[in-house]
Every structure is written in C-alpha cells, then in structure tokens.
Symmetry: D2
C-alpha cells in the first residue's frame, strides 16, 4: 500500500494487547490512516511503545510506532479516530468516554455490539447500517463495532445466499484457532494433542450477532430476521484461522451450482469503493473436497477473503459446507480497519 | 488381567498394520485369548513378527508374539478365531476365505459390515444381533464386524437415549484423531497447525452404520430405524480420541436430567457378563463445561469407556452434547476384542 | 501398590500447583505415605482441595484428598513429613519454617539445593549424601532437595560412567517439554510450530547441579568434582519428557560396549532396597538409532526409568548420546518421593 | 520482483516433489528466469502440471506453469538451465545426462556435492568456487550444487567469523523442521508430541559440507580447512525453519561484540551484485535472549536471511549461539536460485 501525504491520525486503544498489536501492524503504511497515539493501561503509560509491549507478531514493530509514548486510555483530542482492541472488562466505559469526547471509535470489543444505534458491521454485509450512527447521542463522536471473530467468516458466506434464497435455519460447529484467545491465552498444556469443546460466551455471540448483521435498518434500530441459529464452539491446536462447518435451510429452492455461482459473483460496497483493505473477491469457493484448510487458505487476499468448500446436500438441512477465515485479520483488526475505510469513503471521518 | 491356562488360540490378520499391532498389544495377557498366529502380506511372510513389523506403540512388542513367524493370510486351521485388522482392499475376500475354512472372524474392516447376516456389533448396544450369525452360510465359520471408529462412541452415547425416548434425527460433526488413519497415515505437513475438513468415506459410514446398530433383529436381517443422520467429519492434530458434537431430536419429551440419569445408569450385556474388556461404567458424564477432552479422558477405564459432556438445549434440535471415545481401542481393536469376549460368553467359540 | 495400615501422614506444600498435583497423584495409594494435609496460598486456604485446585491431570483427584481442606503454608505439626512443590518465590522461607518446626521437608524447589548441608539428591546417584542432614541446624527438622528436571535424567545416565571411567567434560543441549514450565506456563501461541531456544536460569542449574550430585561427602559439605559443563536449553512442543543430547570426555579409555554394559548393569541403593517407586532397571539403552523418543519412552517403568540411545564416537569429545527422562515424574514429584522412600528405608523418618 | 522481457527459459527437474514445487513457486515472476519445462517421473509425464502435482504450498500454482505438460527427465535442449529437485535415488545420473547435453544444472540434491570440480555453493560464502566449473568435463554443460538444508544457515553465520578470527572446532545440535523431509515425509503419528533424535545421513553431511564451503579454491579442487566438526541432528514438530545451537573455538581472540559486529557488517557478493533473491542483510543478530525462533524469524527478508542470537561465552568452547534459517527457501530452492542468479551475473549462463 502506498502512503498518502495527508493520512488521518488515529489512536489505538488497548495497543499492547494482541488485537492492539495487530491493529498497529496492519495500519503500518496504511494509505488513509497513521497511528499517532497508542494508549494502554496505567502500567504501560509513560513508556515508549517498544518498551511497554510484549510484541508477539513475526513482523517487527513499525519503527514510527515503536518510539511513541504510551498514554492512558483517556481522550485527549489529539486525533479523532480510535481503534479499540480493549479488553471487554474496560472497553464499555472507555469507548463511551472517547465517543463523548468526539472520537469515532471503531471497536473490536463486544461491549457495544448490541447497542441499539451502534452498527455491528461487516462492510460487505451491512454497509447501510452506518445510518444508525446519526441516532447515537454522543455528539460528534460515534461508536462502530466489528463482530466476533467466529461470526464474520460465516456471515460473509451466508450473505449472498440470504439475499438470493433466504435463510430459515443455521447450524454451525466451529474449530477455532488459539490466537482467538489473545496472548497468553490458551496454555500449551491445554491444547497440545487436545481439543477443548468449549469457549466461554462464544456460542451466545454466534447465535445472536448474525441476526443483527443480516437485519434491516429502521430508525428504531435494526430489525432482526427470524432465523434460529445453533452454535457449538471448539478450540483446536491451530495458530490462526477459524474453520466452521455450516448447515443451512433455505427459504427458496436453490441448486448447488446456484449457491456456488452466488459466492463466486459476490461483490459488495468495499469492492465497488475499492477500499484499500477490501479483498477483490470476498469469497473463494474451492472444488477440492479437502479444502478449505486454515494453514493453506487463511492468508488469501492478505487474509481478508473468506474460503468456502465442500458444499453438498444435507439429510437434515438443505445444504452443508465448510467456511474458513482468518480470525485476527478478517475476524478482528483487519475487519475493523475495513469498517473505518468505509466510514472514510462515506465521508464520515471528515 | 490374570492368565488362564486354557486360553483360546487366535490369529491376527493384518498383524503388522496399526490396527493389527493394537490387537496384539491388547491381547497380551488376555484371560480368554492367546495370539498364536500372525498373518500379513506376502512381503512379511517368513520373517519373525519382530523383524516384519514397524512397531509404533509405546508398549513393547509382547515377547511371545515377537518370536512368531509371520504367515500369509491363508487359513490353515491351526486355530479357530481370527481378529482382522486387514486393509479394506483385501479384507473382503480374505475374511470370507477364513470364514469358509471354519474360522470365527472378528473384523475391524468395513467390507462385510453391511452384509445381511453379518452382525455389525457393539456389545453394549446390540448384543442380540449375534442371532444373525446362524443365518450365515459359511458353514462353521462366521464373520462378525466392529463399526467404524467414529461411530462407536456416538452410538454408545445414543443407545440409552434411543431406548428411553426414541430418536427422530441425529446431526454430528467430528474432530478425529490422526491415529484413525493408520500409519504412516496423515503426513505431519498436512495436519500440524491445520484442520482437514474431509475424511474420505467417513461421512457415509456415520450416516449408515448407526442405523444397523440401533436396528432390530429379524430373520430377514436387521430392520433399520427411520432416523435421518447428517455427518461432517474433520481431522485435527490429536493423537488419539475422536471428539464429536452431536445434536438430537427425541421422539418423547425428556428433561436434561432424564438424559444424564440415563447415561449414568447405563449398563448392558458386557457389564452383566463382566467381560474382561468391558468398562464398569460405559458412559461417563462430566459436569465441567469444558469436558470431555481427548487428552484428559480418552484413557478412562482402559480406554473402553465413552465420555460425554455439555448436554444442553438446542435451538434447532432438542439437545446437543459432546462425546469422546478412544478411536483405536474402543473404536477399533478393543471394541472387536469385546465382541469376541461376548461370543465366548455366549458359547459361540466352543 | 498395595496399602499399608500404618502409612506416614504427609503434607503437600504448594499443593494446587502443577508439581503439587503430581505429588498428590503419585502419592495416592502409596505404601509408605498418606496425604493428610494440603497447603497452598492464602487465596486457596479454607476451601476443599477439589474446590481450590484447577486440576490438570488426566487421572482424577484422589477422593480422600479432594475432601481435605486447604491450609496456608504454616507448620502445624499434624504430620512430620512435607513434600514441597512451592514456587521458588516463596519456597525459601516456607521450607525453613517447616524444617524449624520439626518437619522433614522433601523439596522440588531450587532455593535450598546449594545449601552446604542440604542434600541435593538422586537416590540412585548419591544416597550417601544423606549424611549431610545431621549437620543441618534446624533441630529435628531437615530439608532434602531434588535436582532440576533437566538435570536428573542426564546425571543418572552419567553416574555409572563417572564411577567406571571418570568424566573430564560434559556438553549438553536439551529439548524440554512444556510441562516443565508448570501451568499455565508456556502459552500455546509461543510454542506451536516453534522452538524457544531459551529457558531462564536453566542453563546455570545444568552447569552446577551435576557437580554437587557427583561430588563426595565431607563433613564440610560436598566436594565438587572439577568437570566443566556447558548447557544449552531449548523448549519444544512436547507435553512430557526432556530429550537431551550429551557429549562427554572420559578420564579413562572405554569402548562403546563398555559404556553400554555399564548402563545396562547399573543398579543402586533404591534397587537394592526395593523402594516402591524405584525402577527395576534405572537405565534402558536402546539399539534402535531413532530412540529414545519422548512419546514412546517417557513412561517406561512408571516414568521412573531413564532411556538412553545413539551412543557413538564424537569428533570433539569421546562419546555422544541421547538421554530422555520424564520431567514431572522422575524429574520432579516422582524423584522427590523416591528420596523420601530412601529416607524411610534409612530410618530417617522415624 | 518485476518481470524482464527476455527471461531465461529454465527447466525444473523433479518438479512435482516438494523441492520442485518450491522452485516453481519462487521462480514465478522471477526477473531473470522463466519456467518453461517441468520434468518428473514417467508416471507424471504427459499430464499437465496441475494434473500431475499434489500441490502442497499455500500459494496457488503459478498459472503459466499449471498448463505446462510434464515431461520425463530427459534432456531435450529446449532450454539451457535446469534446477534439480530430484530425489537422490535418481539425481546422480539424470543430472549428469543434462550436463552432458549442455545444460547448466543447479542442483539441490546431494549426489554431486563432493565431486572434485562441482562447486558446493552458498553465494555469500564461496562465490569464487565458481572457478571449479571450468574444470568439469561435461562440455558446455555444468553442474553446480546447493548444500544440505541444515548446513546453509550455520555456514553463513560462521563465514564472517572464520574470515576474521579463524575456526578451530565446531559443535552443532539441530532441531529441524518437518518440511526438510519432503512430502509426505514425516508421519504425524511420529512427530506430534515428540522429538526424533535421528535424521538418516544428516550428521555426516553436517560434518563434511562446511569444510568444502569454507575451503580454498585450487585447480586440483577445493582444499578443505582442518576443522573438526561434531553434529547431532534432531527432528521436531516445526513446519519450517531449522534451529541450531552452535559452539565454536576460534583461532584468534575475539570479544562478544567483535563477533556481533562481524555478523551485522557482513555483506558479500550477492549483496554487492544486488542479486534479486539476495537478502539485503544476510545475518540478523537479535539481542532478545529468547530469539531467534522459527515461527517468528524464518521469513525475514523473504526467508533468505539467517537469524542469530544468544551469543555467549562457553565453558567448553569459546562461544555458543543459536542460528535459524528457513530450510526450504534459504536452505533449498531459494539458495539454489541465488546460485543461478550469481552465475547469470557472472555471465556463466550466456
């Protein structure tokens, strides 16, 4: 990505955590945004970012960010956009404080996702939900949220099917990567040679968030479609990439080829606007019956595309298939950055 | 297990393969059976077992078997019982040859599982299917089969529910261990930091075999119940132990506690007969929401018990839960040995 | 192991940690000892052991211990023997308090290992160092320590060579299991698909502790032999079992067969006394050039034996070989219990 | 890398194997070379490359290569340069056939590495060994070889030390990635939760190849320096990246800082010539005591740089340190391509 001369200065909240680090890495050399502030807990405040962070990514710390002094998570109006990778234990209040101080907060935390006038957004899925923002009562400041990492890949794959054929039921079982739990996150003794068939709170999010994402804007908030969803979430010994088996009932009849055509043709707002982080083709369908696989396909299109395979008829639903997406890029920091890019393109950051 | 003075001499077919090795290890010091013949492909014939085998188990080769000379898979009537761990590419004919020669063949291979008069058997589930054997036309010889490794744990967990409340639908997604693919089996480059959402032929077996197992004996063969089953099978980087998420619709209403009580109370023929390999409690239910896990629970009751957890209501079915069983012991060699123990107890090996 | 009617009551200090758990599991049904007290930090005190502990072992919590109420780590004289799995941050003072109160403390912590009159002991290697205990000035109480987990396997393998041929230099590179770091210990994101070529403090211990273990008792303390040791310690993605490549220079000439004979013939005090946890053969030498391997050999003789292989000449030293031992059993709790068994056999616990 | 209009057509021998695939991936869009022929065993001949190959890399098959028809490994003079990823069982004769037919063969196979007039080459280490080529008696054709994957990283790290201070002894213990064994290579059952302390033939190569690499050109062949080397090779559960602990004795005194300065300043022929695959800085030294690590550092400078850390004094040698390099890129296909780039720059491909 080339550099713009007039990049928008942005803050990263929770900048030393695993999501915060990913924000900083992905924003390095971003054409729209430039990280000028890094905020974290009191413990880190005052140190340079390089001193404060236990950097866990293979890519080095961007040099300009390494030298920044970490500040506490208190709004200071030096910039107007804040990406939040805050822990849910503090994100609720801190994000509100920033919004009230006039910031556009783009958050990866769960706290405000179900607020009536806060968009829970995947730019390919529900870009029109931006309209909710004008109903927020933070003044100039706003909050926009990114869905849970296990939700994003599945809902991108479901969106063109939902639009074309309708959805009557969704059943999903996940095999989620350890990076989804942050750092240190999952102990190695817990996951080596093992599966943990439980991730606290995850199933609830998977059964609820898709409904807001696929819902319709109204001035009273998003109207959720009436689709029962059942989710079962498992942790497996994979570094990055959530693999999910999905079963669906459709409202209208569709052939297998109809659905594959839908996926392959799918382009949405970020593609039309040519947003810098947008994948050219959001959904890649594979014919190889053993695909997609996290190690082979999580990095397609800079980890922003979703990979799908094994579409086949199901004895209990209409169809079943496998979907894979990169949980810390498309499913977290990258997805949130794409949201901010959409806001920029819509002149919401001016 | 103590040793009996009059142990029944048995052959192991396919003795150098991974299932064959497990048979030999589990039959070491068995109170009923003593391995006196080891058969394998032409390539191994003539060598001692220790020379022929690439032994992959942590336990050493039993000393008495190590010295045996490997023979080709041709019946020679030196014993009357044969355990088959043959590859499906040859098992069909070889097992018939042995049956025709008067052997009782207890097979872990898939070839004869759906033969009309061949019992597909889990001793806790359908011991009465032994009756099918008298309709076989091999003369004194007979074939009995063990189900697929992914099927056994699930069907043991379903059996008491099926008996008490009936089943209307079964949905299952598996996370299967690499040992299920034999040796060398899955390449390390294929599975390290990865999930493979496909196991050839596995889903078909999971959608069919439970129906025979839960079916009713008739002189015309087993009458399959009318239960639609949908299966999705995945390979994960776990050494031993298949973890499966199961969803069920019941015929009659049952509370969560009803089902747990059912599981905890479940005892069947092998328990009543106190067969040497039978677990005292076939199904262990865990209250810890993160259980069962393959590394923690696959070895319960000498790997012959099934572990179950996370029973909860489901938005699309009545209930969902997690089941775990050891795929090479309960799901293969150990399960087949338990079948042979049942035959012995029923005087079918006299 | 059968149960004795008059088992010695023992306390476990640091009972909720990973070493403490292993003590409790290994002491279950021990013929000499019975856990009657479990002590841990203030936070756990008052709860039952089952409530306080985050049990991470596949074996269930022993029922009699599960019900015990956890106490703080303050001596109360209800028993006389204490096994310590305390964290090094507190072990120094707490163990002294217990010794002063009259306890025989058998510790797996590093704090007192180099105290002049505290035996650093491997019962097969330096049982005569028990004599140091009478010089301690804690009154009736005493402290005995177990070496670091990376040291024990190597020194057991070196002991018969040292006695027969002398040692002039030792070079060792380790590949250590994650369980050596306790729980939660190593993050899965740190070690999956990775090697960490550093373990804080470990190399210093490996370069020093063997000298005390191979040293000679004098009333002024142990006289260390003059053997330069160089150690390099690495963490690898293995659950249990430290694998180490060792190179040695000998004082006297020895053939490869001489050394193998030495290893195979090695028996020491615990074998002569038939201590309950003693392996029958402390060192197992393998001819297979790819052995020993942690997953195949860590559990030999209830994880108390050491496995050795690949002895061959070296272009820079006299010989090089591979040694493997189970780090949490032989290298920690099991080794400490064997020390206590030796004390009992020597009437030091009366 | 941009594309040149006049790229040199090249063949890849053994093109369907794991090294062959890596050649094809790395040569895609190469500024000097264009793959126009893919050769493999008889079994693959006639199929398109996409049909013949079991592609195991995350990057897709380059489209232009996918359509090529695979030929047998017989020289046909359609191009003049051949990269060989042939299996050692056939590489010896096939490579000679191609050389005799006029090809410049750049080989990753071991067969001709020790031929008197065949350069065993790392372009940063011994570019002057190219002179050997004129003494070969294949006519216009020539053979150049790339060292073993475990050798390259270590020797790059040793080269500037050897030049500045001399080397008296080298001791190395490796922890090698599974990709070094090709595909399917190491079975997952062999390496998950395990270490294999043996790699057939590897230690011999590590004790010999560095001597040719660090040797001096003479018209009678390379004069090997007199440096004893001892190597111990282990396989660990890492996908890519060989980690090695190295100990050295120097001829002249050097401080720790002298050596680090040496490494950081090191530039050689490929850097001066700005060869397209050359890393800008061949050796990266890390101050973090836990670095380098394969997952964090194997991809530095497109996987062509070598990472070094933990330089410290040694009780038995002068210094010890850790070196890491990417075994299939720098240690195989990438290293061989860099050799070819050097030949091109030296007008040896005209």
């Amino acid at each position: 990505m080339g550099q713009s001369t007039d990049r928008i200065p942005v803050a990263v909240l929770g900048s030393t955590g695993s999501v915060g680090q990913k924000f900083i890495q992905l924003l390095s050399n971003h054409p729209y945004f430039k990280v000028t502030e890094v905020a974290a807990s009191e413990r880190s405040a005052g140190k340079t970012y390089a001193e404060a962070v236990n950097w866990i990514l293979p890519e080095p710390i961007p040099e300009d960010v390494a030298k920044l002094h970490v500040k506490e998570c208190v709004p200071n109006k030096n910039c107007k956009v804040a990406f939040s990778g805050l822990d849910a234990s503090v994100a609720g209040d801190v994000e509100e404080d920033f919004a009230k101080a006039g910031y556009i907060v783009v958050s990866n935390s769960k706290n405000h996702r179900q607020d009536t006038y806060v968009p829970l957004m995947i730019p390919e899925v529900n870009p029109d939900h931006i309209q909710l923002m004008e109903f927020q009562n933070y003044g100039e400041g706003k909050i926009v949220t990114n869905p849970n990492c296990s939700v994003i890949g599945m809902v991108i794959a479901l969106k063109p099917i939902f639009d074309a054929f309708g959805l009557e039921a969704i059943n999903v079982v996940t095999m989620q990567a350890i990076s989804g739990a942050g750092f240190p996150g999952v102990a190695s003794l817990t996951i080596l040679d093992n599966v943990v068939p439980y991730i606290g709170g995850e199933e609830d999010k998977m059964e609820l968030e898709p409904l807001k994402l696929l819902g319709s804007f109204t001035p009273q908030g998003i109207k959720f479609p009436d689709i029962p969803i059942s989710a079962q979430c498992n942790r497996v010994g994979v570094l990055d990439g959530h693999t999910e088996t999905v079963q669906i009932k459709l409202s209208k009849k569709a052939s297998k080829q109809d659905i594959i055509d839908c996926w392959r043709a799918f382009k949405s707002e970020p593609q039309k606007l040519q947003l810098p982080s947008a994948p050219i083709q959001p959904i890649h369908y594979f014919d190889n019956p053993a695909y997609p696989q996290p190690r082979l396909h999580r990095n397609i299109e800079n980890s922003m595309a979703v990979s799908v395979g094994r579409l086949r008829e199901c004895k209990l639903f209409d169809y079943k298939f496998v979907v894979l997406s990169h949980n810390t890029v498309r499913g977290a920091a990258g997805g949130a950055i794409l949201c901010a890019e959409l806001l920029k393109a819509k002149n919401m950051l001016d």
